[in-house]
């Protein structure tokens, strides 16, 4: 299973994401923002960071990077795509996922171990978890407040497309405590917390994030 990890100018967590793929047992393939093809990968991770310096809006410029033309087309055909933090913002800007992410309501950058509940384990990226499982995954973002209009939120809830919710404390004002959502098909997932930072006992308090990467490997071997 080859999982592409895109590096944009300003990406920070591409190396951690690639390492998480490796720890989960996959082969990580480095993709460059200027690439015009996906080098035959079986899935793509859009990592966290500050692509293009967060100029204009977070993810707004990355969305028009050459590689995103390929990612969007492939995602619409069912390729598993996970957007983490800045990657989630890029997926929303690309309209692969509904809604948007705005500045935290408390106006502070938040960095904490965040408890989450997984509300949809039917996606390409969450099948390794139990429905309703509670996990702890680091969250580190300044513009992580998920918003969408009421009709969209109702539809997401009705269709079970809310993948993860914040528990105990809503860290950023996200509507309905939303930490992650998926598309109708369940192959595209956007997540504000960083599962790639929670895959190794050596450098983190938890390994709860590994399931995201194991899930997508299971898709390929299924």
């Amino acid at each position: 299973m080859r999982v592409g990890v895109v590096t944009f100018p300003g990406s920070l967590d591409d190396v951690d994401a690639a390492r998480a793929v490796t720890v989960a047992g996959g082969e990580a393939v480095a993709l460059w923002h200027g690439d015009h093809d996906l080098h035959g990968v079986d899935a793509v991770v859009l990592p966290g960071g500050f692509s293009y310096g967060d100029y204009l809006r977070c993810g707004a410029i990355a969305r028009f990077a050459p590689v995103m033309t390929e990612v969007i087309a492939a995602a619409q055909e069912g390729l598993p795509v996970l957007g983490i933090c800045n990657g989630f913002q890029i997926l929303c800007e690309s309209h692969l996922l509904p809604g948007a992410l705005i500045r935290n309501d408390a106006r502070r950058f938040v960095c904490r171990d965040q408890r989450l509940r997984l509300d949809n384990v039917g996606t390409a990226w969450t099948s390794a978890y139990e429905q309703g499982q509670e996990v702890v995954i680091p969250l580190k973002s300044g513009e992580g407040g998920y918003i969408a209009d009421a009709d969209t939120l109702d539809r997401l809830e009705g269709d079970g497309r809310i993948v993860a919710r914040y528990l105990e404390h809503n860290p950023n004002g996200a509507m309905r405590d939303i930490a992650g959502v998926t598309n109708e098909r369940g192959n595209v997932v956007g997540l504000m917390p960083h599962p790639e930072h929670a895959v190794d006992d050596l450098c983190g308090s938890v390994t709860d994030g590994l399931g995201f990467f194991r899930s997508v490997l299971a898709v390929a071997t299924a």
């Binding site: 204009l56 809006r57 707004a60 028009f64 929303c92 800007e93 509904p98 809604g99 948007a100 705005i102 500045r103 935290n104 309501d105 106006r107 407040g145 918003i147 969408a148 004002g173």
Partner: protein, 84 residues
């Protein structure tokens, strides 16, 4: 040459933490009587040649595609008269 200005503002129903922070700072500086602050962006586009309807349509497309995110923002496009 013509200058086209695109104003982008967060939609009224969208929380604007930056505007709120500015609003909170004003009384601390002794400025009173401001009931709300909303913060947006202003883009100034210098357009070459004559400003045709086609060009203006292009600018509106730029505004809707890149300069604003229609999920959270509204935009307004206007031509700025040249001042000598």
């Amino acid at each position: 040459m013509a200058r086209v200005v695109v104003d982008v503002m967060p939609k009224p129903e969208i929380l604007d933490p930056q505007g709120k922070a500015v609003h909170g700072a004003l009384p601390r500086l002794g400025f009173e009587g401001v009931t709300e602050v909303r913060q947006g962006k202003r883009f100034e586009l210098e357009i070459e040649g004559e400003l045709t309807d086609d060009r203006m349509a292009q600018v509106r497309l730029m505004a809707a595609t890149l300069l604003s995110n229609p999920v959270i923002e509204d935009f307004d496009v206007r031509v700025e008269e040249a001042t000598q």
